[in-house]
C-alpha cells in the first residue's frame, strides 16, 4: 500500500527536556494504526508535529503523499488531509450538528450559505453512514454521538488521516463497537486512522500496526496481531509486572458493608452484596452499567429508591455524603480533575478539607499544629513526592495526585473505602504504587470496594469480583477460579 505519511528523524526539545528523539513513523493510506505510550512518552508532541502546531528540529523530515513538506503549518496540515480529534472533541455545544460538521465554511467574512452547510454535513454523514438530525444542537447529544459528529467534521474536511486521541475513554461497549465499525468504513474509503491511547485492548482488534513510544524514543512498530496487553505494557514502561492472584482468608473477618436489594430507577436494580473488613471487592462493568451510580448511592450523594445499606450491622439512611463520611465511608471519584481534587489550591488544603471540623480548636479556629501534623503524616505515610505542601495540587504528577486523593480520604479514618477507577490517567509504573497502598490498607483491616473497567485491575488486585450489567449484578467470581478472557466475555455479554 502507498505510504500516506512518512516521518523520519523527528526530534523535539522543550526547555532542557527531550520530548522526542529521532523518531520515525510511517502510516499507509487506509491503515489503522495505534500509537501507544505513557504520559510524557512524546505521543502528544508527535501529534503536534504532524498537525503543524510545532515544528520538528532540523534534520527531521516529513513526507506526505511522497512529497517532502517543510515548514508545516496547522492550515497546511489540514489542507493536506490531516485531522486530529482531541479527547475533548473540540465541538461547539451551542451550534447545530450541521454547523459543527461544516464549521470550515464559517472561515473568513461572507454571508452564511445555510443550504451549503446542510449539504456539506449531510454528505459527510452519508459517506460514513451516520444519521443524526443535522438541526439538533450538539449540547443535546450523547458523548458517543458527539464523537461521530467530530469524525464527520474530519470527513467533511476531506481527511486522509484521522488521528483520534483516547477515543474510547468514555464510551460504552456498544458505542465502542459502533466506533470500530465506523473506523473500518473509513479504512474502506482509503482514510488512515491513528488511535492514540494507553489502553488499546479494544482497538487492537482492528488495528494493523502498533507504534510504541517511551520517554521520547520509539520502541518499535509491531504487527498488531502479534501484540498482547502484557507485551505492550512491557514496551511502554520497560518493566514487567507480574501480579499474583489474591487469596486472603477472610472467613473470620467481620462484615463491614451489607447491601440488600438496593434499587434506584434508571441507575441500578436489586443489588445485594457484602464486603468484609480487609477485603478488596472488585466491581467491573461497562460505562453505564450502574457501577458509579451505585457507588454514589453508597456515598450518600444520590439516595436509593428501595433497599437497605448496613454498615457494621447498623442500618443507614444516607441523605448526604457528610453522613456517609461520619459513618466511615470514603469515596475516591473517577473524575479526579474536577471532583476528586481542587487543582489550583494547595496540597495541604486538599488533604485537610474533609477533616476541617475535626481540626477545630479554641475559638472555632483551625489548630495550626494539628493541621500541620495531619498533612505531614499522610504525605509521609503514602509516600507523596512533594517539595512544598503549599504548592497547588496541579503541580504534581497523576500518580501523586491520586495519592493526595487517597490521603484526604484516609484522614477521615474510614472503615469502607470506595475507589472508582482509581488508576485512570495514572502511569503504569505509578499504578503499581497505588495498588500497593490499597493492598496495605486492606491488610490493616479496611474494607475496600474497587470499581474499574480495566479487567486485569480487578482480577489481580481484588479478593472477589462482581460484574455489573445494565444496572444488575450479572455474576460473582473469585480471581483464582476465572480467567481474564472469561471475565471480559462476561462483561461484554
Amino acid at each position: 500500500m502507498p505510504k500516506f505519511l512518512e516521518m523520519t528523524g523527528i526530534s523535539k526539545q522543550f526547555g532542557g527536556v527531550r520530548a522526542l528523539s529521532d523518531v520515525d513513523l510511517d502510516i499507509a493510506a487506509g491503515e489503522v494504526h495505534c500509537l501507544a505510550g505513557e504520559n510524557g512518552s512524546g505521543k502528544s508532541t508527535l501529534i503536534k508535529i504532524i498537525s503543524g502546531v510545532q515544528p520538528p528540529e532540523p534534520g527531521g523530515r516529513i513526507m506526505i503523499d511522497g512529497h517532502e513538506v517543510s515548514g508545516l503549518t496547522p492550515a497546511e496540515s489540514i489542507r493536506r488531509g490531516i485531522q486530529v480529534i482531541y479527547q475533548d472533541l473540540s465541538l461547539f455545544p451551542n451550534l447545530t450538528v450541521a454547523e459543527n460538521i461544516a464549521v470550515e465554511r464559517h472561515h473568513g467574512l461572507h454571508a452564511v450559505n445555510w443550504s451549503a452547510i446542510r449539504d456539506t454535513a449531510q454528505a459527510a454523514m452519508q459517506r460514513v453512514g451516520v444519521s443524526i438530525d443535522p438541526q439538533s444542537f450538539v449540547a443535546d447529544l450523547s458523548i458517543a454521538q458527539r464523537q461521530l459528529v467530530a469524525i464527520c467534521r474530519a470527513i467533511a474536511n476531506d481527511a486522509r488521516l484521522v488521528i483520534m486521541d483516547e477515543p474510547t475513554a468514555s464510551l460504552t461497549r456498544h458505542e465502542v463497537d459502533a466506533l470500530l465499525a465506523l473506523t473500518l468504513e473509513l479504512k474502506r474509503r482509503g482514510v488512515a486512522v491513528v488511535f492514540v491511547s494507553h489502553r488499546l485492548d479494544e482497538v487492537l482488534e482492528i488495528a494493523e500496526r502498533v507504534t510504541v513510544l517511551r520517554n521520547g524514543e520509539k520502541k518499535g512498530t509491531f504487527e498488531a496481531r502479534d501484540m498482547t496487553d502484557r507485551r505492550l505494557v512491557e514496551l511502554m514502561t520497560g518493566k514487567s509486572f507480574n501480579y499474583e492472584l489474591s487469596e486472603t482468608d477472610l472467613s473470620a473477618a467481620p462484615v463491614v458493608l451489607a447491601v440488600r436489594n438496593l434499587s434506584r430507577a434508571g441507575d441500578y436494580d436489586d443489588i445485594s452484596f457484602e464486603v468484609k473488613a480487609g477485603e478488596i471487592l472488585g466491581i467491573t462493568g461497562r460505562l453505564g452499567s450502574g457501577r458509579t451510580e451505585l457507588a454514589l448511592s453508597l456515598f450518600g450523594m444520590s439516595p436509593p429508591d428501595h433497599g437497605e445499606i448496613r454498615i457494621k450491622d447498623r442500618p443507614l439512611q444516607l441523605s448526604s455524603n457528610r453522613e456517609a463520611i461520619a459513618n466511615g465511608i470514603a469515596y475516591v471519584s473517577e473524575d479526579r480533575l474536577s471532583l476528586g481534587l481542587i487543582m489550583e489550591q494547595p496540597i495541604s488544603s486538599n488533604i485537610a478539607l474533609p477533616v476541617l471540623e475535626r481540626l477545630r480548636g479554641p475559638f472555632g479556629l483551625v489548630q495550626a499544629g494539628r493541621w500541620r501534623e495531619t498533612v505531614r503524616r499522610w504525605i509521609a505515610d503514602l509516600g507523596i513526592k512533594v517539595s512544598d505542601p503549599e504548592n497547588p495540587v496541579r503541580t504534581l504528577s497523576g500518580g501523586n495526585q491520586q495519592r493526595v486523593v487517597l490521603a484526604k480520604w484516609l484522614a477521615t479514618e474510614p472503615s469502607l473505602l470506595i475507589l472508582d477507577s482509581p488508576t485512570v490517567g495514572v502511569d503504569i509504573g505509578a499504578k503499581d504504587g497505588i495498588y500497593q497502598i490499597v493492598r496495605d490498607l486492606a491488610a490493616s483491616g479496611l474494607a475496600v470496594i474497587m470499581i474499574s473497567d480495566e479487567i486485569p485491575e480487578v482480577l489481580y488486585h481484588a479478593d472477589r469480583i462482581l460484574i455489573m450489567q445494565e444496572g444488575r449484578i450479572a455474576g460473582e467470581y473469585l480471581p483464582h477460579q476465572v480467567t481474564e478472557a472469561a471475565l471480559r466475555q462476561a462483561v461484554d455479554a
Binding site: 451551542n94 464549521v103 470550515e104 464559517h106 472561515h107 458523548i143 460504552t172 461497549r173 453505564g288
Partner: protein, 335 residues
Amino acid sequence: MRNALRRFGRTHEARLLLVTVALMIFLSFATKNFFTIQNALDLLTSYAFPGMMAAGLVVVLVAGGLDISFTAVASIAQYLAVLAANHYGIGWLGLFGIALAVGTALGLLNALLVTGLRIASIIVTIAMLNVYYGLLMFVTGGDTINSLPDWFANGLSWVVAFDSHQNPYILNMQMIGLVLAFIMTWLLLNRTSVGRQLRALGGNPEAAKRVGFNVLRLNMVAYGYMGFMAGLASLVQAQVAQTVMPNALVGRELDVLAAVVLGGASLFGGVGTVLGTILGLALLAILQNGLILLGVASFWTECFTGIVFLVAVSTIAWERRRQRLAIRRVIGTAA
C-alpha cells in the same frame, strides 16, 4: 415547518413571548390607553436607547464576553459629536461619523485590553467605565450642552397620520434607529460567517482557537460593534433629551444587561438571540408602562422590575438544570 415550530415551542423565547403577550392582553383590557398606537409609538421612542444598547450587548454576550463600559462610551461619543456639530458645520454625516467612530474606537480599545490582559471582561470593562467616565467628567467639568443644532434637534421625524383627535402619529429617528439596530444585529449573528464565529467562540473558546478562528479579531468585532451601537444610540438619546449631559447615561448599564439576560442570553457565552433580546426589553418596557397606566405610583416601578427579573432568572436556571439532568440520564442509560 411543524418541526421547527415544535422546536421553537421549547425555547426560552417562546415562553417569554407567551408572558409578554399575556401581559399585553391583560393591560389592553385593564387600562384605557395601553392598546393605542400612540402608546406604542411613545414606548418605541423612549426605549430606543436601551434597546439599541441591548442589541450591541447581546453580541458581546454571545461571543462569551461582557461589557459594562458602554454607557460611558455613549456619553463620550454624543458629547464629542454634538460639540463638534455646534462649532463646525459638519451636518448629519459628520455628526454620525464622529459618534460612530468614537464609539467604535473605544470598543476596540476594550477588545484589545480584554484579549491582552487575560482577566475577566467584567473587571476590565468596569475599570474602563471608570476611566472613560472619569476622564469625560474631568475634561468637560460636568458641563451640560444645552443647545443642539436646530437641524439635529428637530430632524428626522415625520408625521405619518393623525388619530381621531387630530393628534399626529410621528415616525422618528428613535424608531428608525431601534429597528435598524435589531436588523443589523440579526444579520450579523445569523447571516454572516463572522457572526457564527462569534457564537462558536462563546460556546467553546478552546475549540474556536483550534479551528483557527482569530480570537483577538473576533473580540474586536464584538466589542467594536458594541461601541458602534453605543455611538449610534447616543445620538438617538441626545435627540430625545434635547440636551447632552455627560452624566446622564452612566448608571444605566446594569438595566440594559438585565434586559438582555431576561431575553435568555447567558453570561457564560454562546447563548442569546435577537428575538429574545427584543422580548426581554419589551417585557420590561411593557411592565413599567403598564404600572404607570394602572396608576401604580412610579416609585414602585423598580421594585416590580426586580421581582420580575428575579422570577425570570430563577425559572431560566431551573429549566437549564432540569435539561442538564435529563441529558445526563439519557447519556447514562444509552447502553
